[in-house]
């Protein structure tokens, strides 16, 4: 019980000292299996902090390669990583931070035909994606499979996030269906301040660790939004709605959907 090496006790000492975590909490973190969808702006800080924390298994889904323009905010990748597969680059950084972490790379994009298979082996899923079709896919797959997840989105100087556990409000409770392709600007059109990705991503990492350890209150039935220009943070209360197309009483969404991507969101 609580079989930690001297190295691990030292490495995780700042967690173990916390009354709310201790060796019991660290063990839960070590037993945790977290899937991060997207090794980009949000996925980067999430992966790095979860690696630092000692999450036992981290899965990463991303079919892209590292591009120079990513380096402005995707801090898990460095200049020599340009043109490398993002999952490989991420895995290297994760294991450099913490060799104890087992990294499972999924060098593909999450789609309707692979989502349920990919998520099923994990305890918690983190949405670090950059387009609405896949955000809805993650929501739908997690609701169907009964998996908790953290939703996240950023743009310009703003960010928003919420956490879902079975029974709490889901993305479709708040937004019935995706906007039409191209209707809402993305970072590649409107831009984003790099540090915003860090602000939101680390909140997602904290929520993940809180889920694994059972500490504190999760951002369930809440939407946390912030505007970094003013550093105003708001927590909006949101209820699961009976009229939700997927988690409501009469679901109209009964299978996973690959919504059409905006032309500029299409990956190579």
């Amino acid at each position: 019980m609580f079989d930690f090496t001297e190295e691990e006790l030292n490495r995780y000492s700042r967690h173990i000292l916390l009354q709310d975590v201790g060796v019991e909490g660290q063990e839960k973190i070590r037993e945790g299996r977290v899937l991060i969808v997207g090794a980009g702006g949000l996925g980067a800080p999430v992966a790095m902090y979860l690696a630092a924390a000692g999450v036992g298994t981290i899965g990463i889904v991303d079919g892209d390669v590292v591009d120079l323009s990513n380096l402005q905010r995707q801090i898990i990748h460095t200049t020599p990583d340009v043109d490398k597969w993002k999952v490989e680059s991420a895995k290297e950084t994760i294991n450099a931070i913490n060799p104890h972490v087992k990294v499972e790379t999924h060098r593909e994009f999450l789609m309707a035909d692979n989502a349920l298979d990919i998520i099923k082996e994990y305890d918690f899923i983190v949405d670090g994606t950059d387009n609405f079709p896949v955000k809805f896919l993650i929501n739908d797959a997690c609701v169907m499979a009964g998996k908790p997840f953290s939703h996240g989105g950023i743009l310009r100087f703003k960010g928003q996030t919420f956490t879902h556990v079975p029974g709490s409000a889901c993305y479709r409770c708040m937004f019935k269906s995706p906007p039409p392709p191209g209707a809402v600007p993305t970072c590649s059109q409107a831009g984003v301040l790099g540090a915003i990705a860090g602000m939101l991503g680390t909140i997602q990492a904290a929520e993940t660790l809180k889920y694994l350890t059972g500490v504190g209150e999760l951002l369930t039935n809440k939407l946390l939004t912030f505007n970094a220009k003013t550093m105003d943070f708001r927590k909006i209360s949101v209820k699961k709605t009976d009229k939700c197309p997927i988690c409501g009483t009469n679901p109209t969404v009964t299978k996973l959907i690959d919504y059409e991507q905006a032309a500029c969101d299409l990956h190579k």
Binding site: G40, G41, L42, D64, V65, D67, S69, N70, T129, D130, N131, F132, K135, G152, G153, I154, L155, K158, G159, Q160, C173, M174, F175, K176, P179, A183, V184, P185, T186, C187, S188, Q189, V192, A197, L223, T225, R234, I236, S237, V238, K239, T241, K243, C264, D265, L266, H267, K268
Partner: protein, 71 residues
């Protein structure tokens, strides 16, 4: 004029007013894309033009935020 809380801040609004009126008054950038809660209940888009607001109502505008980069 009635006091209504919009996104956590008090606003003076001329009643009668519907959700659609409030969206217009607040210059919401993409009125077709916004989700609206009144007193923590989501309002169906079809009702934006008919749901009447009352003094002290708390209204939240929720926006899509998705990030995004393409290579």
């Amino acid at each position: 004029m009635a006091k209504i809380i919009v996104n956590g801040e008090a606003q003076e609004v001329q009643l009668p007013a519907t959700v659609a009126d409030l969206i217009r008054e607040n210059n919401v950038a993409q009125p077709d894309m916004v989700s609206v809660q009144v007193n923590e209940e989501f309002v169906d888009r079809e009702e934006f033009g008919t749901l009447q607001l009352n003094v002290g109502d708390e209204v939240d505008f929720l926006y899509f935020m998705g990030g995004g980069a393409y290579v």
